[in-house]
């Protein structure tokens, strides 16, 4: 096991991909000369040259569309979008082209495109750079949506995504880039199909993904001090959702809290909650609870931003409220 930052893990994955396959190239805003907004491609321009590390104009629609074209043409593009907020400019390319061309061509065309983007709040970059819209993308059939939360997944999911014949969207929580973690040994590529139990427990299932995994694990540690044995499920892949792992957990614990940094209304947490209701209703001992962001544009001031986001305290309190009296 090696200790590295999430940023280094992403960089390691990108570098390995670029080294392995000459058809792989990286493009996006500031990925070249600047070394990447989050420094994930620092030094790549020198190492791989301007043909494979391409700075693009500030036009998400254009460069995501170019990525789709390159993929159609037989290359393996990795497109970096600075934040999920900006990706909305490319939504037409993503939904109407990337996600649909295989279907509309009767399977003749495939689009092996990988799009990486930062998501999430917590860095005081205000309402145009801080939202968590991965749940919106998970709504779209035809693409795979993943949310690596660990350094192992940050490196490995990219490598697996490049083997996928269809578009894969990787959402990297911006708060995680500086976080250090233990890189697990083993083959660098990881699966893009399963949710994982990060902490086994028997009293309540805390179901989350991406950047909120760490808040949730922190909450689980504190719940343990209160005698509540929480199980933490990291969804990892939002589409296709591995609901079986979730249901198996809920059938054991009989209680579920879904933690999602998106707004509650229409959130991915709502989807998970509905699936639990559909699949494990008679195993539930309490209503499924959610911890989501306040329904406001993410504020700039730190105290307001903190107040708007799911917190360890909120997870703790919500989980406690679901548990029986003997656990309170």
């Amino acid at each position: 096991m090696t200790k590295i930052t999430y940023r280094e893990a992403v960089r390691a994955g990108l570098r390995e991909a670029l080294q392995r396959d000459s058809k792989v190239f990286l493009m996006g805003e500031d990925v070249g000369k600047y070394g990447g907004t989050y420094a994930c491609s620092n030094g790549f321009l020198d190492e791989f040259g301007p043909e494979r590390i391409r700075d693009t104009p500030l036009s998400e629609s254009t460069f995501v569309g170019a990525g789709i074209g390159a993929a159609l043409g037989g290359l393996r593009p990795i497109v970096e979008v600075m934040t999920v907020n900006f990706s909305l400019l490319a939504l037409d390319q993503i939904l109407n082209n990337a996600a649909t061309l295989r279907h509309m061509s009767g399977g003749q065309f495939s689009i092996p495109l990988v799009v990486r983007m930062a998501t999430g709040a917590g860095r005081q970059v205000a309402a145009q750079h801080s939202h968590s819209l991965e749940g919106w993308y998970a709504h779209i059939p035809g693409i795979t949506v993943v949310t690596p939360a660990t350094v192992t997944d940050a490196r490995g999911m990219l490598l697996t995504a490049l083997k996928n014949p269809d578009p894969v969207f990787i959402f990297e929580h911006a708060y995680l880039y500086s976080m250090e973690g233990e890189l697990e040994d083993g083959p660098p590529a990881v699966d893009l199909s399963r949710a994982v139990v990060r902490r086994p427990g028997k009293d309540v299932s805390l179901i989350t993904f991406g950047g909120n995994l760490w808040k949730t694990l922190a909450a689980a540690t504190r719940l343990a001090q209160d005698g509540i044995d929480a199980e933490v499920v990291d969804l990892r892949v939002l589409r296709p959702l591995d609901i079986d792992t979730v249901l198996a957990s809920v059938r054991t614990t009989h209680r579920a809290v879904v933690i999602d940094e998106a707004w509650r209304t229409g959130s991915f947490a709502a989807e998970v909650s509905a699936r639990i209701m559909e699949g494990a209703f008679y195993d539930l001992d309490a209503p499924v609870a959610r911890v989501c962001s306040e329904e406001v544009p993410i504020p700039y001031p730190k105290h307001l931003e903190d107040a708007a986001l799911p917190s360890v305290e909120a997870v703790l309190q919500t989980a406690r409220d679901l548990c029986p009296r003997s656990k309170k």
């Binding site: 009989h254 209703f281 008679y282 195993d283 539930l284 001992d285 309490a286 209503p287 409220d321 679901l322 029986p324 009296r325 003997s326």
Partner: protein, 387 residues
Amino acid sequence: MADFVMPTLGADMTEGTLVQWKKQAGDRVTKGEIIAEVDTEKAAIEVESHTTGTIERLLTQPGDKVPVGTVMAVIREDGQPTTAPIHEAARRAAVTTPVHRVEVAPVSPPQTGRLRISPAARKLAAERGLDPAHLQGTGPDGAITLEDIERAGAITEVTKPGGVADRQARMRQTIAAAMARSKREIPHYYLSTTIDMGRAVTWLKQANEARPMTERLLYGVLLIKAVALALRRVPEFNALWKDGAAVRSEGIHIGAAISLRQGGLVAPALHDADQLSLSDLMKTFQDLVKRARAGSLRSSEMSDPTITVTSLGEQGVEIVFGVIYPPQVALVGFGKLVERPWVTNGQVVPRPVVMVSLSADHRASDGHRGGVFLAEIDRLLQEPHIL
């Protein structure tokens, strides 16, 4: 002042839900008039007033689920001064109130009446045969949780004698009410005769020899079948007393008195006993005894009997003077099968005999017909092969 209470509508009823009041405070009500509609697990029941007067106050809201015996309204009887102090605390008394069954679609209780219980807890309660309605929920918003069910199961086990005692007390109250009403309202007359069981016993022995052990007949089943067939000839004993008249019942549903090990008794129905073969009757009876003792009788079995047959011979009793179970109008009792000196063709011979007695409601029948009934039972038992 008279209390209008949640009536017991069968020995197994412990609580009911008020669906609606048919009368309001200040309304006049006459004895026998419908005053409320109550939902039980069995059916929606219209409940009559057992007194005449003015409704002083309604104490229960529609949708409320209250235990049997809870005072739901106070009625000022004619001639009483207004507004006597009202006992706020619900006094509990087991009472039997005449009721009319009405065929209505099940009434769903208002939202407030729905139990707050988690799906998993409801499932566990069902698996354990626990009624969660009385439990105090400790989950979110006071919901009953898995843990509450588990704890309730534990409590029941720890304090089992108390729980049983409570149930016994309730059953005792129910029996007390029914029997007191019987002796208060029903002018009983009693007849008895001794029946020579020689042929029946011999026939039964032969019949059983041809049967595997598990299908052997008990002689008690012969008695029940004989009573059922005899009732075809004297249908006035297969009746219920309703609104001042005996109403003959269409089917012959024999209520078989079954004593329960923990005390008390039930007399659930053997439906259409006259139409069942002895083998079927035996099976049905055994099943009924088993379920009666397990406490899993069906509501139709509790409410349908049209006459009761009781047999106390096992205890060595030779003759039964039974109390009719209202609103039935007759009860047939059998004593012990004993060997006695018997005079036949001028000779004294030992014969197995049984004393059969009839307790009958003199409002519904007369002694002459009662005699015919017993004679018919005797005649049938002399021809066991036709039973």
